[in-house]
């Protein structure tokens, strides 16, 4: 079974600064997918970024980038130039490759507050 751990329950950052959210996972799989989801207050969860484990290049989506360290089983999210709208719960999630069900295993979440 897979486990996902987010060791930072809460974080805060000043607007325009950079923040990194940590995520580690445990799996015996070699091929898999990793995701970061964002849930703003009282709104739906949206996909921020996705990483394929067999790709060494770190995924990037505008101000969001990941540092994927496969050997260390680490998948951190970096938010550059933080904006007030980045205030949200952030969930790291794991999905096995080739899993017919494509079930997601989530971490406990990190609550990020961006301060003006």
């Amino acid at each position: 079974a897979q486990t996902v751990t987010q060791s930072q329950p809460e974080m805060s950052v000043q607007e325009a600064e950079t923040v990194t959210l940590s995520c580690t996972y445990d799996t015996s799989e070699n091929n898999y997918y990793l995701f970061w989801y964002k849930q703003p207050p009282s709104r739906q969860m949206i996909l921020v970024i996705r990483q394929e484990a067999y790709k060494q290049q770190n995924a990037t989506e505008n101000r969001f980038s990941v540092n994927f360290q496969k050997a260390a089983k680490s998948f951190s999210l970096k938010i550059s130039d933080s904006q007030l709208g980045d205030t949200a719960m952030y969930f790291c999630a794991f999905m096995k490759h080739g899993d017919a069900g494509n079930m997601l295993t989530f971490g406990g979440g990190t609550r990020l507050m961006v301060k003006p």
Binding site: V4, Y33, F35, Y37, S42, R43, Q44, M45, I46, L47, R50, F91, M95, H97, A100, G101, N102, M103, L104, T105, F106, G107, G108, G109
Partner: protein, 114 residues
């Protein structure tokens, strides 16, 4: 396109009562998932439909929970009778196949059992 819609957004019921949650996935998405987050813990998988068939219901906690997906369109999750430990946020998500590009989630239903 319309997103994944869940209702009600909030529900407060007494222990022993019945509650039915509804999810309308994105049109054309064969995959439909139910997850829940209880008491600030991790979000946990409940079950997965492919069209109208249950692909995986290994996460359903017990037989008080019943999920259906009529004609492969919307889905309902019924809790009968509700217990205090059922309180939490119930998320629905849908995806095309394969799902490894990620799901589209609904806003969730916050269920409080008192």
């Amino acid at each position: 396109e319309a997103g994944v819609t869940q209702f009600p957004s909030h529900s407060v019921i007494e222990k022993g009562q019945t509650v039915t949650l509804r999810c309308d996935p994105i049109s054309g998405h064969d995959n439909l998932y139910w997850y829940r987050r209880v008491m600030g813990k991790e979000i946990k998988f409940l079950l997965h439909f492919v069209k109208e068939s249950k692909q995986d219901e290994s996460g359903m906690p017990n037989n008080r929970f019943l999920a259906e997906r009529t004609g492969g369109t919307y889905s309902t999750l019924k809790v009968q009778p509700a217990e205090l430990e059922d309180s939490g946020v119930y998320f629905c998500a849908s995806s095309q196949r394969p799902a490894n590009y990620g799901y589209t989630f609904g806003s969730g239903t916050r269920l409080t059992v008192v």
